[in-house]
Amino acid sequence: MNIAVLLNMVPDLVEELEIDASGVALDTQWLRYVLSESDDHALEQALLLKDRRGARVIVLALDRGDADEAMYAALARGADEAIKLSGIPEQGLGKRATATLFKEVLREVPTDLVLSGVQAIDDMDGHVPGLLAGLLSLPYVGVTRSVDVAGEGKVVVHKEYPGGLVAEMEVDLPAVIGVLSAPQPPRYVPVARIRETKKTRAIAERQAPPVDVQAGVLVRRLLKPEPAERAEMLNGSPEDLARQIVTILEDRGLLR
């Protein structure tokens, strides 16, 4: 089985986000990119399938931020092949354009199963895997917490609903699955092994094919939310804070 995993680099929220002078984009000068968390889980899910059922895992990423770093880490974790799409505009692409680009590339990468994080923190004009499934007319299930092989040409997935309820679904391959989380945390690889991978393995690079995308969504402005009301902030040393918090609990009759 060939599994393609789509890796998306998203703004690192640890850093302060700044809006650029145009008012419609983030200032990329100070922006750091990290692998989208649910894509990290999608990769783990693919590697688990490889470990348990045998599969060839191909990771695909647009050239943005530290995509190389994420791809070498994926190879070190067990991916078989990495393909980077270069020639991406500096501001990045919308999700509609991203999905269209992946669709074009997947024509040349034989795939039974496409896994990608169900959503990313910078999604605005859609979520990549669902859009991609629609473009490819493939069966789709998103918000999964596990994917396993269920006989010839089928996978069984667990889709999460609110309140901890889970729907088990059988999906015919080829298919696209939007992963929320893998059944286990993404595996850790030591930095030394990633460094070693950089010396011994290569990332294939392809020019991103031209895509004509009319997403029909125009950004008018980005803004930082102004909260209507904020918490009353307590101040002081940890001991002072502890006293204040306990007083609040006491006043509300919550200290029993």
Binding site: E170, L180, S181, V219, A242
Partner: protein
């Protein structure tokens, strides 16, 4: 040119015979937008033997009810096929989904197959000069994006809990139409094999009045006992945001938020939780929220009653000591 599209459609989310609360939020907002556009508000209800739910959807002018045993259970591909056929016939201006497990799957598939613009995670929707303007919540609530959608029909997903439920509830009896099922359903390729209940045996955090919640800030599984001890001391229970459960440090039954539990305790003490929208969705109705975080800009402080910017590991020992001392005095 075809007639201008003016109608607003709401996808009715239901599970086990119960309509999801946020559907009424969408109906309320949809009512307002349909008024602005001068169109009708339609609730789209898909399932098997679901017509009994139609009378609860009176905020809509009409209910499009598709019943068939092949759509008895939700599948993204199956429901999207039905919706696509309905939308092609009915030509709505706007189609609203909750930004939920079902809604995000459907919205993506529908927008993609029909080539409609899609804006996700909306917190505000307006019509300006006939254009759809929506404000999307991005980057864990740290950024808002105001965007304009062109195109005859637009698909939006809406963050649950943003619009009031009350405006979507009405005694009015909606007209019910039952169109026949499209032939498209033969090619769904996704089947529900069973529904799995959350594992019993562990505590039901929705019934616990005092919750001590931990997030990424707890850093390591080995650090959990210090929070658990405090929870015990306060007569409560420990729960968490999603990352802690994803790491396998706490069972899924302790997860608060979108795909976990929705809780309304007397006290929600949030330790090292930044307050991603998905988490806030599950706890913002708590009677008292006290948040502790190292980042003064953490969104959790926007909804907390009290906040403290402090290292939780420095706060917890004196907090436990103080609580114990005062309890002894009483």
């Amino acid at each position: 040119m075809s007639a201008a599209r003016l109608d607003v459609w709401i996808f009715v989310e239901h599970l086990r015979g119960v309509v999801a609360g946020h559907t009424y939020e969408l109906l309320g907002k949809g009512r307002e937008i349909a008024g602005t556009l001068g169109g009708h508000l339609t609730a789209v209800l898909i399932g098997n033997q679901v017509q009994t739910l139609a009378p609860t959807l009176g905020a809509a002018d009409s209910v499009l009810c598709v019943e068939d045993e092949r759509v008895a259970e939700f599948t993204p591909t199956g429901y999207a096929a039905v919706l696509r056929a309905l939308v092609e016939q009915g030509a709505p201006r706007l189609i609203l989904f909750g930004a939920t497990s079902m809604g995000i799957d459907l919205a993506s598939l529908l927008a993609s197959t029909l080539g409609f613009p899609l804006i996700v995670n909306c917190k505000e929707i307006a019509i300006e000069d006939g254009q759809v303007i929506a404000t999307s919540q991005m980057c864990g609530g740290k950024l808002l994006c105001e965007a304009e959608a062109s195109g005859e029909s637009v698909v939006l997903t809406v963050v649950p809990g943003v619009f009031p439920t009350q405006k979507g509830i009405s005694d009015h009896a909606p007209t019910v139409e039952s169109p026949s099922l499209p032939a498209l359903l033969e090619d769904v390729r996704v089947r529900v094999t069973r529904l799995i209940e959350p594992e019993p045996g562990d505590i039901d955090i929705t019934k616990v009045p005092i919750l001590v919640a931990v997030g990424r800030g707890i850093q390591r599984k080995e650090n959990l006992p210090v929070a658990e001890d405090l929870a015990r001391l306060l007569g409560g229970t420990i729960c968490s945001s999603r990352p802690v459960v994803d790491q396998g440090w706490l069972p899924v039954s302790r997860q608060v938020g979108k795909s976990g539990m929705t809780v309304k305790p007397k006290l929600y003490l949030a330790l090292g939780i930044s307050g991603a929208p998905e988490h806030l969705e599950g706890m913002k109705e708590a009677e008292l929220i006290i948040a502790v975080n190292l980042d003064p800009k953490a969104p959790i402080f926007d909804i907390a009653d009290y906040g403290a910017v402090v290292d939780l590991f420095e706060l917890l020992p004196p907090l436990a000591a103080e609580a114990e001392k005062r309890r002894a005095v009483r």
